[in-house]
Symmetry: C2
Subunit: 339 residues, 2 copies
């Protein structure tokens, strides 16, 4: 597919859903095509004579920049740390690129930078290089941050959708949808109570704990833009396998559930900043679950489903009503600028 | 120095000059402080058991996004390749993060992406990972691109201002100020003739050629934001040595010189995207000069000055009139959004 003359970028091109995928496939992959990029993993994995290096980048445009449980700085560090960690890499160093609007308050910048420092410290990684650009008032929205990260992957570790097999168990490390609901609540002053907070957290500690004692972890992915629903669809597409998940087992707080219902949002597509989905060979599912539950970022972990081999790979959910429905990739953009 | 309440980000905080340095020192270095970041080199150099890794990041906000001789895509690749190359690293991989404004034309994006591909191919490096974000119309100016890059540095290579010694020669690889004048001309439709074009170019080939046959290269730096004047001041500050340059030897095209004069700009502070300053032990200056002149990105290379040891390190220029003047670091921002 080629783009038409006068075709424009839409908000949904940044949603992480179907239009993002089309843009990536039809433009970025078409032009830049190479073996590493084409895998579209959370991190690129580069094999060198000096070892396997994971390399990842993300820009952050979340609005508002500060919200309960975190801010743009915290998710900018956690997001990049997590993109490295889900490939089994130990985060080695982070870069930080700031684009700011003329007139942005330096005190706010100080809070964001302090928050980055705190998150980096928790993750055990340092910010080693950076860049600062300023554009005229009205040419950017306060501040945008890019973080990139690098890390080494031990030779024996290889996590990929291609390793997933029929019968594998699907596990998430806790309540979904908190980040997206929190940001939407803060952006629009919706006033939802119930203490919903962003879940932004560096998960490298949790993942390291699991990888160092489990032998059959197939693949891990973090559930950011597009949420659990989109990630499972991406993995189904890459692995050519189907996923059957159980609605009753998907962890979600009552507050996030009722806020989603009121707003007409499907929590399956709401962004998270401290959640992963993990695929493991079934005999090891309990071990992984217990390791997660013993870690502060995995207390509410649940086994949510299983992998099937079917003619046409798809994601399906057993609903609370007992039926089954297909879970599609996110269409449009239900929550722009969530990260 | 701490920032005052209500102090705001100014355009000059993004100039690469004095205010950028103050912001970096008083905020980013103060908060993130670590041995690698504190060096404020073009690339961070990380020593690992698997070798020395160079890691760098830059965001690009140049306005307009397309101009004679290049576009945002070309300089986004060349800038990051050059930041790696000046530390003696072989560029291994590049990331690309796009922040776009809703309504941005996809055809323009295609041209920018093609240009990135072309520059990456010339530099012999691949774009292995990326990210796409979209913000609402009016919340960004068309497109901003972040590129980060990594590369390995051979164990024997160590380029740093700390290696510069009294008597070293200072060499630039060609005409200064073309990029900045071109962008300003294009932005404001000034209509200067004389074929001034952006000099955006990947210099890793040129630098590799020099490093592979010269033994006494001390330090190389690329002359982007803030231009030659600011870079020399940074290096004087780090090396605690003075620089004496000769105005008559600084290569500049007659077109760029007259455009600068008309606009009241000092070409010493105008940004370049394909120029480096190189410090070499004097006996090797001719060899470096000849190697440069035999490469397409060094044909107009010149020895522009020498390093002095003085009580108070500073940058001075012998003017065409025969006098000497101090070259300060860039104050304010003579050309915002030049890269």
């Amino acid at each position: 597919m080629r783009f038409k003359t006068k075709e424009k970028i839409l908000l949904a091109h940044g949603s992480g859903g179907r239009l993002t995928h089309e843009l990536v496939k039809n433009l970025f992959i078409r032009k830049f095509s190479n073996k590493i990029l084409n895998k579209l993993d959370d991190s690129a994995v580069i094999k060198t004579k000096n070892g396997q290096i994971a390399f990842t980048t993300d820009s952050y445009v979340v609005d508002p920049i500060e919200f309960p449980g975190g801010d743009m700085g915290r998710i900018a560090i956690c997001g990049t740390v997590n993109d490295l960690a889900v490939k089994g890499a130990k985060p080695l160093a982070i870069s930080a690129g700031f684009i700011m609007e003329e007139g942005f308050e330096i005190k706010t910048l100080e809070r964001i930078v302090s928050s980055m420092k705190k998150a980096a410290k928790e993750a055990g990684v340092e910010i080693v290089t950076g860049d600062t650009k300023v554009v005229e008032r009205g040419k950017a929205d306060k501040i945008f941050i890019n973080t990139s990260g690098i890390g080494f992957i031990e030779p024996k570790i290889f996590l990929s959708p291609s390793k997933i097999r029929k019968g594998d168990s699907i596990i998430v490390n806790g309540n979904i949808a908190d980040h997206g609901i929190t940001v939407m609540n803060a952006r629009n002053n919706l006033g939802f109570k119930g203490n919903i907070r962003s879940d932004g957290a560096p998960l490298n500690g949790l993942i390291k704990k699991i990888l160092s004692s489990c032998k059959h972890i197939r693949c891990i992915r973090d559930l950011t833009r597009g949420g659990l629903g989109t990630s499972l669809n991406e993995i189904a597409g890459s692995s050519k396998l189907s996923m059957l998940i159980n609605q009753k087992d998907i962890p979600i707080s009552p507050s996030a559930e009722s806020a989603s219902a009121l707003l007409g949002l499907d929590p399956l597509y709401v962004a998270n900043e401290g959640k992963i989905v993990l695929f493991v060979k079934k005999p090891e599912e309990k071990k992984v679950l217990n390791l997660m539950k013993s870690h502060k970022y995995g207390r509410k972990a649940k086994i949510i489903g299983t992998v099937l081999k079917e003619k046409k790979p798809q994601v399906r959910m057993k609903t609370l009503m007992g039926g089954e429905r297909i879970v599609m990739m996110l269409e449009g953009d239900q929550l722009p600028r969530i990260c």
